[in-house]
């Protein structure tokens, strides 16, 4: 049977947790095209991981069947497992084994004959660039290298079907690009079929075919162009005064016929309902500045968002008005350094953030972002240099500065077994709010972050998007001047990310200063200014357009085509290989 490498017919799967039934897949039917990369996308909880696990024989369906390479998975899991490669979201490398020993283990388990090993290992090591590190313990590899080793282990016995579950989560853009190059080679040279789930829409756009899952069902399946094609003639770039772009975006988002409006550089990108154009004349009048709208080709992301949104949902916007309690810069960093033993994690970093600005901190894993962040929040004392936050010198009055800042950490840091309401009132009390004021803030938080309907539920059981909103609300209970967000959107699906940024924009409009770290390059476009870090130093600083202008241009690429990601990679590569 030279049929599809993977097909599913009427797959259903329900999980029980805390007495509630959660439907992960309901009557899912699909057929994968052989010999290409298929992207699997969808919001959190759409059933992507469940489907991968069913295909790999790790779960048994409640109803329906999955067929892999002509074999029924539920009936013959061992045979399926010896002809596929599956890389789970967190590939479990044995950290106390070396690169070679990890390969040996999987070669033994997959039954690769000893004679065939040296050639196969050499090939995999060359492909992943791990050849110089074959004797290094896996635990000592960087995040990107670990991911590549995981992929090499999965590939040790060349599989006919490769299942990759979010292989690029938490991996920096440079390593991400390398992983993709490997996957393309496998498909073109070995005719492998690949199913890859991802939260990055630019990655989905590079796949030959894309499957969009939503609530356990296939919403759309086809080449990425098919997703954006219906939007031709409906996407525009609207440009006003560069410094007021946030207000322009908020106004556009409220205009009738606008399905989606996001910041891109100094303009706003909008998707219109069929047959409509943004009304620039009206905009010019309301805003009192010239506004221009140009038609642009639709992107994959536009298709994704409009497909999932259906009709537009009104997102409650937090209303804030902060009058800064300080004069001058919100954050001022001068010659900041931090040393851990012999290792300089941050070296002589200087930058300033103005009040009401959204400032981004970008960098590869280990670039010193988190260390800088912690010093700014007063969680880690600097080795040398000056830090002023909200006009207060952190070396002398860290506690006073902390009263003026809100902090949302990378991981969910609320009490999972308290309800949303209990968590919020705890944080209100922790910040010293009492009585009527605490009650007023609680109501504000529940309304502004759309938490009312689930306020009584245990926070740990809330969907990821809710948890993230709750964490942000908790950080804002005491009306801080400055909000610190450490990778707030890591692992969050594209729709929730958009909602999240709508709120950040509203906060910034209300005068709150926001400092944010992120791995998503399109989010860098939403920042007013940003700094790119590598090896503890700042490589470039400025507005998104200034950063792109600073980056060395790859051969033959016109500047207008440059994305934040290419700029980022070019900057890092220029630093690593100075001419």
């Amino acid at each position: 049977m030279s049929a599809s490498p993977l097909s599913a017919r009427g797959l259903c799967k329900t999980f029980r947790a805390d007495g509630r039934a959660i439907t992960a897949l309901s009557d899912l039917t699909l057929t994968l095209t052989p010999g290409v990369v298929t992207g699997l996308i969808g919001p959190d909880g759409a059933g992507k991981t469940t489907f991968m696990r069913l295909a790999a024989g790790l779960l048994v369906p409640d109803a329906g069947s999955a067929t892999v390479l002509g074999l029924d998975v539920a009936r013959d899991p061992l045979a399926v497992q010896s002809s596929i490669g599956y890389m789970p979201q967190r590939f479990g490398l044995y950290e106390d084994l070396s690169v070679n020993e990890n390969l040996d283990l999987y070669a033994d388990l997959q039954g690769v004959p000893c004679a065939a090993r040296p050639a196969r290992y050499d090939e995999l090591m060359a492909m992943t660039g791990l050849a110089p590190f074959r004797d290094r313990l896996a635990g000592r590899l960087s995040g990107g290298m670990k991911q590549k080793l995981g992929l090499a282990c999965t590939l040790v016995n060349p599989p006919r079907l490769l299942l990759l579950d979010e292989p690029t989560v938490g991996v920096d853009p440079v390593s991400r690009r390398e992983l993709w190059a490997i996957v393309y080679r496998l498909v073109s040279e070995q005719a492998m079929s690949v199913l890859l789930s991802t939260a990055y829409l630019d990655e989905a756009e590079r796949c030959a075919e894309v499957i969009l899952l939503h609530q356990g069902q296939v919403v759309a399946h086809g080449p990425p162009g098919q997703f954006s094609a219906p939007l031709t003639g409906r996407t525009f770039r609207v440009t006003g005064a560069p410094t007021r772009r946030r207000r322009l975006q908020a106004t556009l988002a409220r205009q009738p016929g606008v399905l989606d409006a996001v910041l891109q550089g100094e303009s706003v990108r909008v998707v219109m309902a069929p047959g409509q154009r943004p009304d620039c004349t009206a905009l010019s009048q309301t805003l009192g500045e010239p506004v221009r709208g140009d038609a642009v080709p639709p992107r994959f992301e536009d298709g994704f968002v409009t497909l999932l949104q259906g009709e537009r949902r009104e997102i409650p916007i937090p209303q804030v008005r902060v009058t800064p309690s300080f004069r001058g810069d919100a954050i001022l960093v001068r010659d900041l350094s931090r040393r851990f033993g012999q290792f300089l994690a941050v070296q002589r970093v200087s930058f300033a953030v103005r009040p009401g600005e959204v400032f981004g901190l970008l960098g590869a894993n280990g670039a010193g972002k988190t260390t800088t962040f912690r010093m700014l929040c007063g969680l880690l004392p600097p080795s040398s240099g000056e830090v002023r936050v909200a006009g207060v010198d952190l070396r002398h009055a860290a506690a006073r500065a902390r009263g003026r800042i809100g902090y949302m950490s990378q991981r969910f840091s609320l009490y999972a077994n308290l309800s949303a309401r209990q968590n919020l009132s705890f944080f209100a009390r922790a910040y010293g709010l009492t009585g009527a004021r605490a009650a007023a803030r609680l109501d504000w938080a529940l309304d502004a972050f759309d938490l009312q309907d689930l306020a009584g539920m245990e926070s740990g059981a809330l969907p990821l998007g809710y948890q993230q909103r709750l964490a942000m609300a908790a950080a804002l209970m005491h009306e801080p001047d400055i909000l610190f967000l450490d990778e707030p959107t890591s692992g969050v699906d594209p729709l929730a990310r958009r909602e999240f940024w709508t709120r950040i924009n509203a906060l910034a409009e209300g005068g709150v200063t926001v400092l944010v770290t992120t791995h998503f390059m399109e989010e860098a476009e939403y920042c007013d200014r940003l700094a790119i870090m590598a090896a503890g130093e700042i490589l470039a600083i400025g507005t998104p357009s200034e950063i792109k202008a600073q980056a060395p241009r790859p051969d033959g690429e016109p500047e207008s085509e440059m994305t934040m990601e290419t700029a980022f990679i070019a900057l890092i590569q220029a630093r690593d290989q100075p001419e």
Partner: protein, 375 residues
């Protein structure tokens, strides 16, 4: 399609596990260093015997008889007597815990000995440490009885003791507590490796996601289980050899039974402990919880309910019944018998059968519960 012998996969798993054990300092520490430390601690430090116990004597009327009586205690290695002249001084010393007990010889001690052929004494013991108190009481009475008999015989007075008890102690004639503590420790040590270490190591595979990657390879459940059991079995047996060697050569505990019987019984016990460790980790899938459960369900019972420290016969009936589900109990009985008495089949066979039953139960249940699924 199987192009390879299945044992190739098992060999791969075994090699991986061995490398991990060798590189993880904590597993070596739990298997060898901790047992050695426990053995040294119990062998040298902890003793349930009374030696050089400070005992106060209140002698109100010094004389030849009183001196002879106190002298009887001075000759014993068990006591370190101190003499006080008044009841008051003696009581102060007892209260200040300078002495653990007080023997009061009244002013008419010598007179009553001569006249009534008896020499009543009062014994006051500090009951805070109930165990030592009871021991001390018994020792003092024993010394007193022996001394009285000797005194009266010397004066050629017959005493009115109708029955003469001649006590002989078998198997451990010197009543050295080390002789039964050190073999018992073997059991505790093997529980550490078998249940605690194994439960934590396997739970770690769930936590780190290494098991998910393993499960999608063509490996079978049996291969995963054997790949885990065998290396830790070798580690546990290594620890046991070390413990036996230390017991015999370092502490001079006699080993009267046969080595092969010890090896067979140790195998059964270790399999039961490993099975329990695996079961705990399969159910919990979490290192912290697995560790706590292993300590509560295996390690502490091995200490407290196995008869290693506390005699099962003198436990309350309910607790005595509970000890029957503690594998360590059977092995402690076997080990103490093998070391001190020899190959007493009437003891070894039923206890070994119980161990075999428990090993089968735990391993069988682990095999049933471990699936190549992640639900």
């Amino acid at each position: 399609m199987k192009t390879m012998q299945p044992n190739r996969r098992l060999l791969g798993l075994l090699r991986k596990e061995s490398l991990q054990i060798l590189r993880d300092p904590s597993s070596i520490a739990i298997a060898f260093v901790l047992p050695a430390v426990l053995l040294l601690l119990f062998g040298y430090g902890v003793s349930l015997d009374s030696k050089g116990v400070p005992v106060g004597f209140v002698v109100m009327q010094p004389g030849a008889e009183a001196a002879s009586f106190v002298g009887a205690f001075q000759h014993s290695t068990y006591f370190a007597p101190r003499v006080y002249r008044t009841r008051q001084a003696g009581r102060e010393a007892l209260r200040a815990r300078e002495v653990t007990g007080l023997v009061v010889l009244s002013a008419d001690f010598a007179q009553r000995l001569k006249a009534d052929r008896e020499a009543p004494i009062q014994v006051l013991v500090n009951g805070v440490d109930a165990n030592s108190a009871r021991l001390l009481e018994g020792y003092v009475q024993g010394v007193w009885a022996v001394w009285l008999q000797r005194e009266l015989t010397a004066r050629q007075i017959a005493i009115a003791t109708p029955v003469a008890v001649q006590a002989r102690i078998w198997f451990n004639p010197e009543l050295r507590s080390r002789n039964y503590l050190v073999p018992g420790l073997l059991v505790v040590n093997m529980t550490l490796v078998g249940a605690l270490l194994t439960a934590m190591v396997f739970a770690r595979e769930w936590e780190r996601g290494t098991l998910e990657a393993l499960l999608v390879t063509p490996v079978t459940v049996n291969e995963i289980l054997i790949g885990k059991i065998l290396p830790y079995f070798v580690l546990g047996m290594g620890g046991m050899v070390l413990s036996v060697a230390m017991a015999v050569f370092q502490f001079g505990v006699p080993l009267r039974g046969s080595l092969w019987v010890l090896a067979v019984c140790a195998t059964l016990f270790l399999l039961a402990a490993l099975g329990m460790g695996l079961l705990i980790s399969i159910v919990t899938r979490n290192q912290f919880v697995a560790g706590m459960i292993a300590i509560l369900a295996a390690f502490l019972p091995a200490f407290l309910l196995s008869g290693f420290l506390f005699d099962i016969g003198s436990m309350p009936a309910v607790v005595g019944v509970i000890t029957h589900i503690v594998a360590a109990r059977y092995f402690v009985t076997i080990v103490q018998t093998l070391f001190l008495a020899g190959d007493v089949w009437a003891v070894i066979l039923p206890n070994a059968a119980a161990l075999a039953l428990m090993a089968t139960f735990f391993l069988g249940l682990s095999r049933r519960l471990l699936r190549k699924r992640i639900e």
